[in-house]
């Protein structure tokens, strides 16, 4: 019987936090000494966004154990609600406070969507849940593309047809212009803000996991029927995990919106392809492994950029790397082979360690 002790979670979490902190300090040093190309420095905020998306999706996929393919939809909700607020309030209050409130609004809007979608959808299981979340993500993206909201002195005007139907008066301003989205969102995002938000996301997720609620969520993942007969409120905790996950994706969306001058809902940024890409981060980093999600999100975002020299071949190489990694990490044969190698070469080391441990 193989006996495995669980590593102390607190220590584990500290490693995760310090990893992010060290990465931040390193990047800052490189930035100051001018060792980061403008291309790379342009990637820093997107990196933070992807990390937040990956860790938050891991809460749904790894901790709650439900497959969601609509994560980009929540990001979309956050991005548009946050940008909408900033656009309306720009100049009316201090930038810092405005951006902070925009982040909160993005989190709340995405969280509410998470609950609204979660209530009917979380009854479904496995692949059915996957396709329905994908469907919701696409619907959100589609709706945003036909959404027109304008503002004049009579207040807000709303249409699903075109900007003319808003019937704005002369000084009125179109804020959300259908497929053209929102233009001129203030550029508030920065790497430091991104890292701060990553920290907050990590604190929320890691502390949630190691709490009474987190245990309830994981008990549903491990055995729904046993959890129910142990008195765990399945619906409540599924919704809790799902909506917190959505909220953090919403915050990532607000950050995204405030990093671009023009915000549009395209298949590329808010479509199912994006949701799938985030899922790839999560699975490759280890299902349920939060630190793994961070690492894989960073590596997989940088990989295509590092391969830029190979121009046309870079996405091809990315695809091959992905397939090979999956086969090596998950195929039972490869796993067995790796275990065998470990035993062969590390058995002596292992033995010594065990002795010292006693």
């Amino acid at each position: 019987m193989k006996k495995m002790k669980i590593a102390k979670t607190t220590k584990n979490n500290l490693i995760t936090y310090s990893m992010v902190l060290i990465a931040y300090i390193l990047v800052q040093i490189l930035l100051i000494t001018g060792h980061i190309s403008s291309l790379m420095s342009g990637l820093l905020v997107p990196l933070c966004i992807y990390v937040m998306l990956a860790v938050s999706l891991n809460l749904t996929v790894g901790i709650l154990g439900e497959l969601s393919l609509g994560h980009a939809g929540f990001m979309c909700v956050g991005a548009f609600s946050g940008a909408f607020f900033s656009k309306c309030m720009d100049g009316l209050m201090p930038d810092g406070i405005r951006f902070f409130i925009a982040l909160l609004i993005g989190a709340a809007a995405a969280g509410i969507f998470g609950i609204l979608i979660g209530i009917p959808v979380l009854r479904l299981k496995g692949d059915y849940l996957a396709i329905v979340t994908l469907a919701f993500g696409e619907i959100i993206k589609n709706l945003v593309n036909v959404l027109y909201i304008g503002k004049d002195k009579n207040g807000f005007h709303f249409s699903m047809k075109d900007s003319i139907s808003l019937h704005l008066d002369g000084e009125g301003q179109v804020i959300i212009n259908g497929a053209q989205g929102i233009t001129g969102t203030p550029h508030d995002a920065s790497f430091t803000v991104g890292i701060l938000l990553i920290f907050i996301s990590l604190i929320i997720i890691l502390n949630l996991i190691n709490s009474r609620d987190g245990r309830a969520i994981m008990s549903i993942r491990d055995n729904r029927i046993a959890a129910e007969s142990t008195g765990i409120n399945i619906t409540k905790y599924k919704l809790m995990a799902f909506s917190i996950s959505a909220s953090i994706a919403g915050v990532a969306g607000v950050l995204y919106a405030h990093n671009l001058s023009t915000l549009t809902a395209l298949p590329k940024n808010f479509g199912y392809n994006m949701s799938i890409m985030i899922l790839v981060f999560v699975v490759l980093g280890g299902i349920g492994n939060i630190r793994g999600s961070i690492i894989s999100a960073v590596i997989l975002t940088l990989l295509p950029e590092l391969l830029r020299g190979l121009s046309d071949y870079r996405m091809l190489i990315y695809a091959i790397v992905l397939i090979v990694m999956m086969l090596l990490n998950w195929s039972p044969k490869a796993v067995e082979w790796k275990e065998g190698l470990k035993e062969k070469y590390f058995s002596r080391l292992h033995f010594r360690k065990e002795k010292e441990g006693r």
Partner: protein
């Protein structure tokens, strides 16, 4: 009159979805995996025909045959190399992500060979359109061929699964792999055959789709692939008649939605209908209800 015309177009598009969804559903039934690369096999089929007919100037029928052969072999190779090693993996997500990897791979190989420019696909259908009701109702040759092809494929597939030995083996494997193995069924062979058939169907769907909507890019297969996946779930994933019904209904809803509600919202309408169906019947129209045993 326009309603009937929309309806016929819907059935035609739906037939394409149904053919793709059949591949999806068969593969799901037997391998219990969402084959995200299935849509890209459609694109490969499209490019095979494009190369042979438009670039090499050879007859369309040869193009279709070659496309079917290429896709069949491709499907089997993908299964053998990428999916089979993960069949008993600890998490079902592993094979899903690998399928996504294959999807990226196919798209990018096509991108390298054919470039990102949209190719205009020459229709392989040479039948002239039929005019009905004094020319008020025009049905294109592509529509007719697509609907006929759809019907023929559905009949053949149903006969194959229900009457042939190999088809029965498929049903057995999809029911219970272990038991099928004990009964002397070649499980690996049966799964390979399923991928082969599914991919051959994808090739046919690719040709039909590109003939009806004559633009071809490396990403052509992605959205129809997702829609067909929706159709398969809609009808009850794993069920062959379910995939047919789901596909055709989806095509009709999409075309009517485009025509009468909003062309921008057509996809959203399709997805909304899927959600409503699943909320009313969580396993799709013809899906089996499976209750977990306590």
């Amino acid at each position: 009159m326009s309603f009937i015309s929309y309806l016929i177009n819907g059935i035609s598009l739906g037939s394409v979805y149904a053919i793709i969804a059949l591949g999806y559903t068969m593969v799901y039934g037997i391998a219990k995996m969402l084959n995200f690369a299935h849509g890209d096999v459609i694109m490969v089929g499209g490019f095979a025909v494009f190369t042979i007919v438009s670039t090499l100037g050879l007859p369309p029928i040869l193009g279709i045959l070659v496309a079917v052969v290429i896709c069949t072999v491709l499907g089997m190779v993908i299964e053998r190399v990428a999916y089979k090693p993960l069949r008993n993996a600890a998490s079902p997500l592993a094979v899903l992500i690998t399928a996504i990897g294959i999807s990226y791979l196919l798209q990018n190989v096509a991108l390298l060979i054919f470039g990102a420019n949209t190719k205009s696909f020459t229709s392989v259908v040479t039948i002239s359109p039929i005019k009905l009701a004094d020319g008020q109702l025009i049905i294109s040759g592509e529509t007719i061929v697509t609907i006929i092809a759809g019907i023929v494929i559905m009949i053949c597939l149903t006969l194959f699964v229900n009457k042939s030995k190999a088809g029965q083996a498929m049903l057995a494997v999809s029911e219970d792999k272990g038991a099928a193995q004990l009964m002397g069924i070649n499980v690996n062979g049966t799964i390979a055959l399923t991928f082969a058939i599914g991919s051959a169907l994808a090739a046919v769907a690719g040709v039909l789709l590109c003939s009806a909507y004559p633009s071809l890019t490396p990403y052509t297969g992605a959205m129809p692939g997702i829609k067909a996946f929706v159709a398969a779930v809609f009808g009850g994933i794993g069920s062959i008649p379910g995939a047919m019904i789901g596909g055709i209904l989806l095509g009709i809803i999409e075309i009517l939605g485009k025509a009468y509600i909003s062309s921008q919202m057509a996809d959203a309408i399709v997805f909304a209908v899927l959600i409503i169906v699943l909320l009313v019947k969580p396993t799709g129209i013809l899906g089996k209800n499976i209750q977990e045993k306590v």
